[in-house]
Symmetry: C2
Subunit: 77 residues, 2 copies
């Protein structure tokens, strides 16, 4: 997995989990405490999140870090 | 999992994997391309690594990100 590719795949994973929860970016922003702009950039693979922030996403989705980082699970289309 | 706790657990995970591979911090430094000082700080939970750097560790250990982030697996003692 190339280094930049991992950001794209992480973004896709966040978007998929958000949609599975039927949350808007606004919802995820409110629940995580992150700015909506940051959420958008994360979903587009434009940010390189820290482990602490990745952990906040895992807590927000109520899944383990290991589950969150299953980046092979992608949204189709 | 508290936000700081995750750094400690990640550090323990890195140390465990390094020892399982029978690598010194110097070895891990050489293989990953990270400075030995950074490796030491990571293992002590004193750094908050980015997703890209976490990905470099996963590649260095030849495991998936999901496997690397199984932070429940701790070194005893």
């Amino acid at each position: 997995m190339s280094k930049d590719n991992v950001l794209i795949k992480f973004g896709n994973r966040i978007r998929l989990l958000r949609k599975q929860n039927d949350w808007s970016q606004e919802d995820l922003s409110f629940k995580s405490g992150f700015h909506r702009t940051y959420i958008g950039m994360i979903e587009r693979g434009e940010r390189n999140p820290s482990l602490k922030n990745i952990s906040v996403f895992a807590n927000t989705f109520n899944i383990s870090l290991s589950e969150l980082l299953k980046l092979e699970i992608n949204e189709m289309g």
